[in-house]
């Protein structure tokens, strides 16, 4: 059991490319920390630095009160689950799990106990004598987890462990990973690009972009109060609607210069009249498409008169300019091509600075 602390950690590759630009992070004992971000944001690099597979250019990586910058991966007391599982193809499931323990010189009976225990937890007992190629994707995933569990490490590191599984299995394994981590009460750091995985697994959610941390917090807090427009577009599906406010509009809300206004799709309602709630926001939309997914319906609307507008803040995951998504409960929806007005109350608005880097709303 241990906490993980990163102090101003940086990574510069030879050639001057800065992959990690100074990150501070504290993951408490037994907490589940998820690093999320678009591909190339440095989240995997950061995880590999904690694992010891990448060198740390500057700053400190601290596991359980011990700075491990120069310590070999095997001696850091961590276990890692890889995206492609990285099972040894020529070894049986049993040996895959026992290999690391043998290399440590652990006595045979203890290895056997640990492997069988892990196999029972993960329900792979009957497969211990098989080779990895005889297993399905989900079973391989379990073996990879088993290899991590038998080590009884201080920290679990997961590098997109579910991205090779099909959607249904992914959800099942997600629940299982969470349950397992609770049960073993081991600190975990988990990398994913899937914001749904991130939201459901995390105690602490770290949203990363271009080698920097955009926001750290518990998942719901991050969802409800995104610190930047990047977080606003990245967390939540469909993403938050963002529109630029002119200096005049911004001034009416007491802000200098321009600003960006954000509204979550579920906070918008259809209004019959043209009235906008006091301090709230309203959009006149032409309905372009309807998506019915059963319990809810997404209405894709184009704002009238904004066809030439550029992107609001150039973030990955952001909606095309001028498009607004409204999420309606149930299956009732306006006809495609009709004009509607969507409004949101003042309390549901998110105001950001014009560059999207600062949040004004409380």
């Amino acid at each position: 059991m241990a906490s993980v602390t990163l102090r101003n950690v940086r990574k510069t590759y030879p050639g001057g490319i800065e992959a990690i630009k100074g990150i501070d992070l504290h993951v408490g004992d037994g907490q589940f920390c998820v690093l999320v971000g678009p591909s190339g944001c440095g989240k995997s690099t950061l995880l590999r630095m904690v694992a010891g597979l990448e060198t740390v250019t500057s700053g400190e990586v601290d596991i359980g009160g011990r700075v491990v910058n120069t310590i070999e991966p095997a001696d850091r007391d961590i276990a890692m689950v890889f995206q492609n599982y990285a099972l040894y193809p020529h070894m049986t499931v049993y040996n895959n799990m026992a290999y690391g323990l043998r290399n440590r010189g652990m006595p045979k009976p203890e290895i056997d106990t640990r492997v069988r225990e892990a196999a029972e937890i993960l329900e792979i007992g009957p497969m211990l004598e098989r080779k990895p190629r005889q297993l399905s994707g989900g079973q391989r995933q379990r073996v990879a987890m088993g290899r991590a569990i038998v080590r009884q490490p201080k920290v679990f590191l997961f590098d997109e462990p579910l991205s090779n599984l099909d959607a249904k299995l992914r959800i099942a394994m997600r629940v299982e990973i969470r349950r397992l981590q609770r049960r073993l009460a081991t600190t975990a750091i988990y990398v994913t690009h899937d914001q749904l995985e991130a939201m459901t697994l995390a105690d602490i959610l770290v949203v990363m972009n271009r080698g920097e941390v955009e926001q750290i917090g518990n998942p719901l807090e991050v969802y409800e109060r995104p610190a930047t427009t990047f977080v606003a577009s990245f967390i939540g599906a469909p993403p938050m609607n963002l529109t630029s406010l002119s200096p005049v509009e911004a001034a009416s809300r007491g802000l200098e210069g321009g600003a960006i206004l954000g509204v979550r799709p579920e906070d918008l309602t259809l209004a019959a009249d043209t009235e906008i709630p006091a301090g709230g926001a309203g959009y006149d939309l032409t309905v372009e498409a309807i998506e019915r997914v059963g319990a809810e319906t997404f209405v894709y609307g184009a704002r009238t008169g904004t066809q030439d507008a550029g992107p609001v803040s150039n973030n990955p995951g952001e909606l095309p300019p001028g498009q607004i998504i409204v999420r309606l409960p149930g299956q009732a929806a306006p006809a495609v091509g009709s004009m509607i007005r969507a409004v949101a109350p003042a309390a549901k608005l998110h105001l950001f600075s014009a560059d999207g880097r600062r949040r004004f709303s409380p």
Binding site: P73, A74, D75, Q83, Y85, A86, Y88, G100, R104
Partner: protein, 282 residues
């Protein structure tokens, strides 16, 4: 597979049989000749059916040898050839798997330079560098020795390149998982890389064994003693007799015997050999 009907199928089969006959007939003829009386062959009255001298000829070939030219039983030559072919095959595999391991998995100064130096040796087979190689072997007192027969042929780039290509397809995560599992460079090589290379090694062994077994020019140069000559050199010597009749039954028996080890190696290793060339098991 395309199903062929009627006449086309028979034509296809006929062509195959003709092909087999063309390839197999000389071998059959050699076998028949090895069981005949030498006088019958010399007279040009050789029958196309096996004769009565099978046991006698093969016994003489293996344990006695020809009367005049080679002065050594073919059994001895086969042993020499076997030692040479095995040393070349095993030595090459050992050296090239280690050098490929160093080149692919380690970062050291002049790594690529080393790789290219190894690569360039591809353009310098023994035939091209035969004089300097002979000089070096002679200076090192390697003439008429097994080391002299095998060592100069062990150093070559083909096997290193093959292992390098294979190692580069091994996923990085496997190495990283090993590092986390506490396996150092040697353990990773022994526990992961070697077992994964099994089929590649088998395929290489077959190719290199046959390569070593069929060497002619180098053994001819490097050996002068009768008890060091290899079977390929021996056959040639048996045929050229200046003042006596060539002992054709023994020559043919030797040729048949010379064929057997490579055939045995191919048959024994066939399964692994094919897998090594077509399949990448990861």
């Amino acid at each position: 597979m395309v199903e062929r009907e009627g006449i086309r199928r028979y034509v296809a089969h006929a062509i195959l049989w003709i092909g087999i006959a063309i390839v197999a007939f000389p071998v059959y003829l050699a076998f028949v000749a090895s069981t005949q009386d030498n006088a019958a062959i010399a007279n040009g009255q050789m029958s196309l059916l096996p004769g009565a001298h099978f046991l006698e000829t093969y016994y003489r070939t293996v344990f006695v040898g020809t009367a005049g030219t080679t002065r050594e039983p073919v059994g001895m030559m086969m042993l020499n050839s076997l030692v040479m072919a095995m040393s070349i095959a095993l030595g090459k595999i050992a050296i090239s798997i280690l050098s490929a391991y160093a080149i692919v998995f380690f970062r050291f100064p002049l790594r690529m330079t080393m790789f290219w130096i190894i690569f360039v040796t591809l353009m310098l087979p023994v035939e091209v560098r035969i004089y300097p190689t002979y000089k070096i072997a002679a200076d090192l007192n390697l003439l008429d020795s097994y080391s002299g027969l095998a060592l100069p042929l062990i150093a070559s780039a083909t096997a290193t390149l093959l292992f390098r290509q294979f190692f580069m397809t091994v996923p990085d995560e496997l190495l990283e998982a090993s590092r986390i599992d506490g396996a150092g460079p040697f353990r990773f090589f022994k526990d992961t890389l070697l077992p994964l290379s099994r089929t590649n090694m088998a395929a290489l062994f077959v190719i290199l064994f046959i390569y070593g077994w069929n060497q002619y020019l180098w053994p001819l140069l490097i050996t002068t003693r009768d008890d060091m000559q290899t079977i390929q050199v021996g056959i040639r010597k048996m045929i050229t007799t200046s003042d006596a009749l060539t002992e054709w039954p023994i020559v043919m028996a030797t040729a048949i015997l010379a064929m057997l080890p490579p055939v045995a190696v191919v048959i024994l290793m066939q399964r692994l050999f094919v897998r090594g060339l077509v399949e990448t098991e990861k």
